[in-house]
């Protein structure tokens, strides 16, 4: 899905394509963000991406994790093109309490994972979609 994020006070549009790709190394879903802009303002660093995406309330938490925060530059595992990804290192630990009690199927796992990981980088699951996937509405 490509979600347009308009820059404030600007005619430029930043388009971010989110991909969820299973990592064979971490055996977890990993969120990738590929950015394109309509004007001559390439996303050249995680800092530029933060300004466009991360809600001010979440910035300190994201910055605290690692050298450049929870988002780093990398190459897309399928296209091979430059993009950003959200570090999966702490995902397993963070997901454990969310899946306690068992019975978490693949769809629900991804939904909870999205809630944990996506919210910090502008990817919010619409409530209607969440309800639809969860069936009973219990996610």
């Amino acid at each position: 899905e490509a979600l347009p994020h308009p820059y404030p006070n600007s005619n430029n549009t930043l388009t971010i394509t989110y991909d969820i790709i299973h990592s064979p190394s971490y055996r977890l879903p990993v969120l990738y963000l590929t950015c394109t802009t309509t004007a001559n303002h390439p996303i050249s660093s995680p800092e530029t991406l933060y300004r466009a995406l991360v809600p001010p309330s979440m910035k300190p938490q994201i910055q605290a994790i690692g050298v450049m925060g929870a988002v780093s530059a990398t190459e897309h595992p399928i296209t091979g093109l430059p993009c950003y990804f959200v570090h999966p290192c702490k995902t397993a630990d963070a997901m454990r309490p969310l899946c306690a009690g068992g019975g978490v199927g693949a769809e629900r796992y991804v939904l909870r994972w999205l809630g944990l990981v996506g919210g910090g980088v502008g990817l919010n699951v619409p409530a209607a979609l969440a309800v639809d996937i969860a069936g009973t509405g219990e996610v």
Partner: protein, 322 residues
């Protein structure tokens, strides 16, 4: 004894280097194509980005626009932009077109021990310089990760790869993530200055964390797109770029399902069975590492300890035969 043997092999890999002949792009050069070439014997294990400040100083007299910062430059080989986060030796194995050196002699029958003769061909001297072009304009931001003045991006991508290798080895990245700032700085300094002793001082802590067992061998396999089109696992690519590759990764355990030591051949056969249908013989393709076609019978973990790149991974180029 085994430790000494591996250390000797690792030393050989670390001293492997490539002759580079770097020319300034005519469009960035005041005298068109008449600048001197920059010649350097560069370690296979190192990253090209570390050359940029020196290149900027060397080419400054010829630059049309000397104000462009050194980190905005980029390198290409035959119009293919060279990725910063790939080590120089991997780029050479993938793109130079040089014939891999073939291992001469009998294949080992036992895969338990990596022999000196197996590794002897790796990292061998290259006589023909690899001719690269340096650019200061038209940075291909759709194809290359942009760099920065303080090497933050290079350090970050290296660190991420190193953590991933750690996770692959032990099932957790906590060893890599709990390196002290001092150790983490030393490791990066060792990579930047190609200092094997300093590197091993820290890397030993990563390889042998107390209380954690080794599970998988960090391995990445790079396929030319013509190879990936022959497999059923291909995802159709949109807007293929020249020089595009398919990177394959799978978790490769230390031992096979029949509790035999994992070899390069057993790993490739289980990961890419259509390209490597035999566990012992390269029928359709050869695995190339540090310029040499590695025997399929090589013990994979020992190969990793001797010949991994600084991020902990074996980065293998696949060359199709025939």
């Amino acid at each position: 004894m085994a430790g000494e043997r591996i250390a000797h092999l690792q030393s050989k890999i670390w001293s492997g280097s490539l002759p580079l002949e770097i020319r300034l792009a005519a469009s960035d050069c005041r005298t068109y194509d008449e600048s001197d070439p920059y010649l350097v014997q560069y370690p296979r294990l190192s990253y090209l980005a570390f050359l940029l400040p020196r290149l900027h100083t060397f080419f400054a007299p010829w630059l049309i626009n000397p104000e462009v910062p050194s980190y905005e430059a980029w390198l290409s080989f035959e119009d293919v932009p060279l990725k910063w986060h790939y080590p120089t030796g991997l780029l050479y194995d993938l793109y130079s077109g040089a014939e891999p050196i073939n291992f001469d002699g009998r294949q080992e029958r036992e895969a338990v021990v990596l022999s000196h003769s197996t590794v002897a061909t790796m990292g061998g001297a290259v006589s023909t310089p690899w001719r690269l072009t340096l650019h200061y304009t038209e940075f291909p931001s759709g194809q290359l990760i942009p760099l920065d003045a303080d090497d933050k991006t290079m350090r970050d991508t290296f660190t991420n790869a190193m953590k991933e290798a750690d996770f692959v080895r032990n099932g957790t990245a906590r060893t890599a993530m709990s390196l002290s700032k001092e150790d983490s700085d030393k490791l990066w300094q060792a990579v930047r200055s190609h200092d094997r002793a300093l590197f091993n001082e820290i890397n030993t802590k990563l390889l042998y964390p107390p209380g954690l067992g080794l599970r998988h061998v960090p391995l990445k396999v790079y396929l030319p797109t013509s190879a990936s089109q022959t497999t059923s696992e291909t995802i159709p690519e949109e807007g293929k770029t020249t020089g595009h590759l398919r990177v394959v990764q799978a978790l490769v355990p230390l031992q096979t399902s029949t509790r035999q030591p994992q070899t390069l051949g057993t790993a490739l056969n289980s990961t890419l069975p259509t390209i490597f249908p035999s566990r012992r013989n390269p029928l359709l393709a050869q695995p190339v590492l540090h310029g040499a076609a590695v025997p399929m019978t090589a013990n994979l973990w020992e190969l990793n300890r001797a010949a991994a790149y600084t991020d902990g991974f074996l980065h293998l180029a696949v060359v199709m035969l025939g």
